[in-house]
Amino acid sequence: MRDERQTLPRIVIEGAEVRLQRGAGAAVLGTSLALHAGRVTALLGPSGAGKSTLLRAIAGLERLHTGTIRSDGTVWSGPGVHLPPEARRCGVVFQDFALFPHLNARQNVGFGLRHLPGEERKARIAEALRSVELTHRAHAYPHELSGGEQQRVALARALAPSPSVMLLDEPFSGLDRRLRADLSAMTLEVLRASGTAALIITHDAEDALASADEIALMEAGSIIQSGAPDALYLAPVSENAARMLGEVEVFEATVSGGKAETPLGAVPARQDEASAVKVLIRPEGIAVSPGGTPGTPAALTERRAAGPAVQFTAMLEDGRAVIARAPVSHRAQPGEQVSLQLDLTFVSVVAG
């Protein structure tokens, strides 16, 4: 699934396991992940999956129970090793931004730059604030800033010390939708310009698909799949992985003669003969044609136009309803008899 990449990863996590309380179950369980410089990785998963805990473990705010976290060959966390957070050069944007209320925007951004001489520090602060377009708010205190401005100060503060990796914990979750789109674009631009490895936690699939260079799907403490957004969308490794990124039709089948039979037709399956499989079909992979053309006959029961796409609900002859998606220009109306064809690009077969 991974595309060819010549660069060595900046951060490598192998078999990481974190237990938050003695005796409690593991919040992060045998997770492996690699972060690359200059690339933004989105960590996507339902709440409680252990995303924040993994982020805190990378930053050194939680200890690993087993496994290792290495950065450019240095072990940050591992057996008997725990580099304290202040020695790791991780930039973290916390979910509540965690701006220091007693310091203004400039002072917040300059907090991690104490080691620099005065002039250089000033220049770096100014540069960081300029990159998030907040030069005019430099002297405002956190409570005087809007939510979006607070987020940008938090971003500038984390970036100012030129960290080797940026970790963002649901950085847009507290903001309203429109603001979120603008901010997310700016954040990505700033992150890419900085050239660091970046990990953004999100639970919004669209957000992840739109913004990240790479997506890692996390469930119950483990990364279940990672890779390029399109690869993940088109070729999920499991039903759960498929559902995290969008709607999917699932048909259970048994492999027979290298094929798996579904109500919409047979699809090629590489699994062992006679093994149980699940056929996952994205709504875009079901084409709706006028009745009578070759394909699976069905009755359209609903047509919902949503922006650029139209979503059809079609009733198959066995009474099962499937969802198909097409450009909004598609003319089919509810009540019509139609034929459904499969586009195999949108179909994947996984072990059941």
Partner: protein, 555 residues
């Protein structure tokens, strides 16, 4: 989230109109609180000038000021260190007795400063059992005593601020290159600074308002100057002039604290907050922490109270003590009830969001900055003038002076207590009432509750604990109050505080011990309840935070 917009606006207004809108009462309370101070200022300007003031200026004024500064500074330093240190221990660590120390550390507030002074002076004087220690006396000794009995103000406010901090700020500091110690000094400590400053302002204000301690330990502050001018010289205008100096200093402290707070409001920027994981201390360190937390309670409350108790047991009791105790409880109880009622009314007035209501509450809450001696002086001036007018009118009608003496009456005392302590009753009530949101009112009304039902079934259950807290706070304060009681009490009406002070002033500490101990015994149970209530924020839904319970801090 806020209910706004053109649709809900009329609804809110209509409900406000049908609800309890005691703006007139609030205005009256504001006037009550501002009256004495205005009277003092007026007399200071218009009163006849005598050469007493010139004499004071040449001889004692510098000493008064010097003592005031030393007493204030020592009290502030000591209470700052004790209060902040213990607050940090109980909020960030786990050690034996932590949950008990949480509220126990507030108990020295039940100890009148002068009682602690009697106890410690008696212990450390030449013939006392601890005579190897330097005798507790002079401005240094008085400052120490104030630091020991008033540090709970700092402790309670700092504890609340520490507890409110999000662990994310600390983590952020760590990821930005701070060691644990640096993260504490660069983020946690500056973030509690406004709370500590607010606590220190209260400590210094209480120290400057005190009369019993400084007069016993020979550290004549400006308050002593006011009382000497009034009692010794019989010159109310001169007393008023010295009082104005005192009030100016107090208000400067409050303004400074307020300005500091405005610059950096210490609220967490957004709602999400990750609480700190308390650090479990190793057994030895845990015992050390427990000892450190026990020390202020022992030194500020237990040891001096025990010494007084021992002295009381070995000295024949003076007569009239039970009567004095009755007077103390009656006055404090009446004042507590009145203040709780007026405080609730003021809280409602603030809720109406009218200018008069809010301004009145603001003025009333400034009364706390007026030292008791000054408030009493103001009441004396106002009632004296009123008495003169009544006498004149009565004489014109009947040919004899008005049969009731207003100055030096229970009314005068209650007036002065209210003027000074209503402020303490506003905060808790307002905090409790803030839980009654407009949408809660609207919900109850749409479910068929009429205004009275609404008040009884929704408002009262939500505010009752706040009102009780307000009443008890004022009860304890009035119980301990000495200078105002001394100045205004009726001729034959002694209270425990006055009795104790009079014996102590005659160097009869043995006799002063019993009334002082009785005071502590009466003040302690309500103080335990108050302390548990205002430190319960983690345990209870209807707890009231210290920053809401103490005046001068509520906006």
């Amino acid at each position: 989230m806020a209910v706004t917009g053109p649709v809900t606006q009329p609804l809110r207004r209509r409900i406000g109109q049908t609800g309890f809108r005691p703006v007139w009462l609030a205005a009256l309370a504001g006037l009550l609180c501002a009256g004495p101070l205005i009277a003092v200022a007026w007399l200071a300007i218009t009163g006849t000038w005598t050469d007493y003031l010139g004499h004071i200026y040449q001889t004692r004024l510098a000493g008064y000021l010097w003592n005031t500064v030393i007493v204030g500074l020592v009290a502030a330093c000591l209470s700052g260190v004790i209060g902040t240190g213990t607050a940090w221990l109980v909020t960030r660590h786990v050690f034996p007795g932590r949950t008990v120390f949480q509220w126990m550390l507030a108990l020295p507030l039940a100890m009148p400063a002068y009682a602690a002074a009697y106890g410690w002076y008696d212990l450390t004087q030449a013939a006392g059992p601890l005579s190897m220690l330097p005798t507790v006396r002079g401005p240094l000794g008085a400052g120490l005593i104030f630091g020991l009995v008033f540090y709970p103000y700092v402790y309670l406010l700092a504890r609340e601020a520490f507890a409110a901090q999000s662990a994310d700020a600390y983590d952020a500091a760590r990821t930005l290159g701070c060691s644990p110690f640096q993260a504490f000094t660069r983020t946690a400590l500056p973030m509690v600074r406004p709370a500590v400053a607010a606590g220190l302002a209260l400590v210094v204000m209480e120290a400057l308002a005190d009369y019993g301690t400084v007069s016993h330990l020979g550290a004549s502050t400006l308050t002593v100057g006011v009382i000497r001018a009034w009692a010794g010289e019989g010159s109310t205008p001169d007393a008023a002039r010295i009082a104005m100096v005192l009030v100016t200093i107090t208000f400067l402290i409050f303004m400074g604290e307020r300005a500091l707070r405005r610059r950096a409001r210490q609220t967490s920027a957004s709602g999400h907050r990750r609480p700190f994981q308390r650090q479990r201390l190793a057994p030895l360190a845990g015992i050390a922490a427990a000892l450190i937390c026990a020390a202020p309670v022992l030194i500020g409350l237990v040891i001096p109270a025990a010494r007084l108790g021992w002295r009381a047991l070995s000295t024949p009791a003076a007569t009239g003590l039970w009567q004095a105790a009755g007077h103390s409880i009656l006055l404090a109880g009446l004042s507590g009830l009145m203040a709780a009622f007026v405080g609730l009314a003021l809280a409602y007035a603030i809720r109406t969001k009218t200018l008069t209501g809010r301004a009145s509450a603001r003025i009333a809450s400034m009364g706390y900055g007026v030292p008791g001696a000054v408030a009493a002086l103001g009441v004396l001036i106002i009632l004296g003038g009123f008495q003169g007018w009544l006498d004149g009118a009565w004489r014109a009608m009947t040919g004899s002076p008005f049969p009731l003496l207003l100055t030096g009456s229970v009314i005068a005392l209650l007036f002065a207590y209210q003027a000074r302590f209503i402020a303490a009753a506003i905060g808790p009530s307002e905090s409790a009432l803030s839980r009654v949101t407009p949408s809660l009112d609207a919900a109850a009304r749409t479910l068929g509750a009429r205004p009275l039902t609404l008040a009884l079934r929704v408002h009262w259950p939500l505010v009752s604990s706040g009102v009780a807290l307000a009443g008890l706070l004022v009860f304890v304060e009035v119980l301990k109050e000495l200078p105002a009681t001394m100045i205004l009490r009726p001729f034959n009406m002694d209270t425990l505080a006055v009795t104790a002070h009079n014996f102590a002033a005659d160097e009869r500490l043995g006799q002063a011990a019993l009334p002082a101990v009785l005071l502590v015994l009466v003040a302690l149970p309500p103080m335990v309840w108050i302390a548990r209530q205002i430190t319960a924020s983690e345990r209870q839904r209807d707890a009231i935070a210290p920053s809401d319970a103490f005046p001068g801090l509520a906006e």
